[in-house]
Amino acid sequence: MDENLVVPDAELLTPGHLGCQGCGAALAMRYVLKALGEKTIVVLPACCFSIIAGPFPYSALKIPLLHTAFETAAVTASGVRAGLDCQGDSETTVLAWAGDGGTFDIGLQALSGTAERNDNILYICYDNEAYMNTGVQRSSATPWGAWTTTTPHAKRKFKKDIMLIMAAHRIPYAATASVAYPEDLIAKVKTAKKTKGTRFIHLLAPCPPGWKISSEQTIKFARLAVQTRIFPLYEVEDGTRYRFHDISEPASVEEYLKAQGRFKNLSEEDFELIQEQVEERWAYLIGLAAMTGAGNG
């Protein structure tokens, strides 16, 4: 049996965590730690997980956890790596675990530095598409059309393409993943674990209060995001070799958008515009993959 199809039983995130009901980030951490195992150190900047992991002296994680400042996840992880290496520990995985604000916005400079040096860490951005921990303010990961407390009608800027930015650093491994596809997520984390250098996973993690969806709908929308190609699943090796988990008949974006409270201010024209953007972006990605010499997986 393919070892990638086996989901380990061990739970390294305990039920006592402080995530909201239906929290995509907590689910994501649970799966990721199953894939990485106990020989893992987590570096955590300011983000929802600073709270979810529990206050001093508690910890909801059964592995070591280093809290650090907002913009420093990647480089603090680089430092942990260097500190372990100089003591002869090359086995432990160093995981930087940051939200979209800490990755797309305030932590981008340090992340770029780490990627340019190709420091041997795994960086996972759990993307809930806004500053959720501070009460739903827009980030550069917030999609076009979404309500947030700082885009009271709807955001009229497009989501930053973090994957292409990371791929442009030619890091050995970058992938998107979704909590709706746990086997795929775990397989990608295992691939990342085996790879040396800077590895990046962009993980879509819905936030029920921030997306204005009910807590049992996390998986539904995480899946629809993939099925509509709003959040396509793919991998990029060395910034050039693309591999897609293609959806043969993509769903229309309307189904995804209409049922979420955060998109309630959008019009039919807005839905059409978003549909066009999604198709354009997909064509661009496919074209990019063809140009750099890769095929579908």
């Binding site: 150190i41 600073s50 992991a53 206050p55 592995i63 956890l65 430092g79 942990v80």
Partner: protein, 389 residues
Amino acid sequence: MIVTTEETREVITGNHAVSHGARLARAQVISAYPITPQTQVVELLSSFCEDGSLDAKFIQVESEHSAMAALVGASSVGARCFTATSAHGLALMHEMLHWAAGARLPIVMANINRAMGAPWSVWTDQNDSLSQRDTGWMQIYCESNQEVLDTVIQAYKTAERVALPAMLVLDAFVLSHTAEPVEIPSQEAVDDFLPPYEPDLRLSTEDPHSFSGLATPDTYMEFRYGIQKSMERALEEFQRVDDEFYEAFGRRYGLIEQYRTDGAELLLVTSSTITSTARVVIDELRDSGRHVGLLKIRLFRPFPGELLRSLVANAKKLAVIDRNIGFGVGGIFAQEIRAALYNHIQIPVFGFVAGLGGRDVRPSLIREVIEYAETHEEPEDLIWKGVKL
């Protein structure tokens, strides 16, 4: 070429004295970003790492903020860490300085004192390091290149004993780029003096814990109490380390140095390289029968208030020269000194601000300072010297 591990005497700059100090202390992880006038520190350390003179990981980061963040990570898993910066680099690090101290990480850093912009300046004054006064870092102000090298080694020993970070400070160009003869100790002697870093707690998969997680109002204050208690302990430890250093290497600097203070009625108080110029003036005035002496404040954090009180007990006046300005108040060392004395000793403290942005502080200016304090009875909080009006 691998540098010798034997004791040598060489003519080196202050910046290279820093690099040799970090090499001899066997820093394991170095992370730094270039800034004038610090660059030679990291250039030489890069060479040491490249040629095998130093077995360290050098993380070449994209900013000073990241330099300190990287060291927070490396120090948390138990590595001995070093960086160097200056002025705007130090200011950019500010958030992580709090983090390093709060996390109780004994990182050592050299800061080359450079004036802050705007307007741009690359020359020396102390506002960069003094702006970091309340971050929980120890601060040691150095006067000579020998003191710089020795202080790197002393700083590690003290920092690791009290689990707090330490910053040694030296003047831009006046020390950083000026070559002086320096005794470079042997690796063996430094190894004997400074044992490997063995923290009580470290981030490890063998014994998993969460570090620096959210502290509620019910727990936060005790962390701050702990830092203050360790700062108080650091006063004693720093003195002890200086004594141990003397036994091992025959050199000592004290927390506050007294220079020709016997029977002095007026004590001039200085720090850093202004002290060297002041020594010449004090010699001259002493030899002509004037009752003046000199105190050099070396350790600024923790502030050696009790020691200061014992050293000024017989003086009639103090004249403090500050190469810095706390806007809206006056010289920062003068404020600290007044605060240390106020509840205990009533003695006039004249506060002089001079030499900002690298303006020369010459013997003539120091003579004027002394003359002023000698001939005035009422102390003044802020007297500008050498400003063109």
